[in-house]
Symmetry: C2
Subunit: 290 residues, 2 copies
């Protein structure tokens, strides 16, 4: 089995898939693509984001059209990810390695498969579609791999090497349950709260528009993201999301007690100062890596 | 009364005060400064951020030292803002105009004064101190003015012109209660939630550090801000803050019902898509203005 990836197939040529395609092509990797929206697919060929288009999942599953493909990357929203994986059964347990890009993993339950490695390349954007494709989107960013099906080391290494060498990402390995809880806290909950905040501002009928500096701005990118992807993430990861929310409510209630001075130890200033210092620890990662 | 501001006095030479000083000097305005931390004050002179230092609030209040000052700008945290205003009683109802920079206004209650206009220059930063001073911090940003003491048009115009011409800001006028509610929603609540999120991540003991992309990043700047300022804001604006939080909880509960599918109309996808569109309306302001 060849660990060097010479040709990949990207299923879903939205912003994520197209960005992976551009980065791969810049490293001399050939890129085939499929999208269930024929317009997206044609545009991807026209704009030379992919080298070759494949017309259907059936054609992919028939093996004939992808003999020279080393790695398939599924770059569609989380629910569709599982559907696509299930529709490619002829490719299970072959030399072709399959991976994905889904932000939630617990729903991806498959049996008797040994060539599927799960990936979560972490790069946020409120942009979507081909026009937002960016060859450098993932450069230097983190990619969390999960191997819930105990796929063989060769398949794992192929995916790991691809992200590191072709996309220049940092990789790490987590279990699915670690992954989904950590990202519930660091990503899914912040997005949920952003949507709630936008909704409450809408409902309040206050003249907020031109006075949105100083805090709201940071939330804007989050609720501008792809609604299909986020409805999938919220629904599929609701158990961990609610766990993360419950934790945040405890902290919020503690802050409210300090603010309303029904509790005074520590005082609110010391508590905020403590949290500011705590931030420096969380910031031990380099901010520019995200 | 001369509407042209030729010399200003800045009380508090932290990041905000020093940034105002630098922008003013670049327009040929002379800048005197006071800070109750002598080290800050000396550094501000040494670094030529201010032209002249004044040693105490008493000296300012004695009038002798500030005969040629047209405008006093108080750039200290919200609680201290009121204390400073009360300590300058000899300057009330004189030709010298006094304004502030506090992010919350309802606690600034004064009687029989006609030369004080309240200002809220909106520019966020998680930096503080002289080294973060930036002559362009406020350029093109918004400044909300309040005139709760019915100060005369001359004083209002002097402050309004100063922000527009010297600092190149856009200004608007709100009542104190409008101001405090709108900023509870758009700024104070997002900051409160950021602190709660950081706290809950700290308490969870999960390995979050290097996996903080994709959402958390947007919150980081917020909880990194000056703890003294934010403990003042939360405490002084707690009524409106809790009002804003209650509104957000309603929206959050609605989202949770959709996610857990105990309520299905609208479905979660349609609701998120609706909120994404709603965002575009809120974004009617130019993002780069903040």
């Amino acid at each position: 089995m060849n660990l060097n990836v010479e040709k990949i197939l990207i299923i879903g040529v939205g912003m994520i898939g197209a960005s992976i395609a551009l980065a791969s092509k810049s490293k001399g990797i050939k890129v085939a693509g499929f999208d269930n929206n024929p317009e997206f697919l044609n545009n991807a060929v026209k704009k030379q984001i992919i080298d070759q288009s494949i017309d259907s999942l059936d054609e992919i599953n028939s093996k004939n059209y992808i003999k020279d493909v080393d790695l398939i990357i599924i770059a569609v929203p989380p629910k569709q990810t599982l559907e696509v994986l299930n529709s490619l059964k002829e490719l299970w347990n072959t030399d072709i390695t399959i991976t994905d890009t889904s932000s939630v993993k617990n729903h991806i339950q498959l049996k008797d498969v040994s060539n599927i490695i799960l990936s979560h390349p972490i790069a946020g954007s409120d942009q979507s579609g081909l026009s937002a494709a960016d060859a450098n989107l993932f450069q230097g960013k983190k990619n969390v791999l999960c191997n819930p099906f105990d796929s063989s080391k060769e398949h794992f290494d192929k995916v790991d090497n691809f992200w590191k060498n072709a996309l220049q990402m940092r990789t790490s390995l987590m279990t699915v349950s670690e992954h989904d809880l950590v990202f519930a806290m660091t990503s899914h909950l912040p997005h949920l709260i952003s949507y709630a905040l936008i909704d409450s501002i809408r409902l309040s009928n206050n003249d907020v528009g031109d006075n949105a500096g100083g805090g709201l701005k940071e939330f804007l990118r989050l609720s501008g993201s792809n609604p299909e992807m986020w409805s999938d993430i919220f629904t599929l990861n609701r158990v961990d999301l609610i766990k993360a929310l419950a934790g945040m409510q405890v902290s919020l209630n503690n802050l409210l007690e300090l603010i309303s001075e029904t509790k005074q130890i520590p005082d609110i200033f010391s508590h905020l100062e403590f949290l500011k210092n705590e931030l420096d620890e969380i910031k031990s990662f380099k901010e520019d890596k995200f």
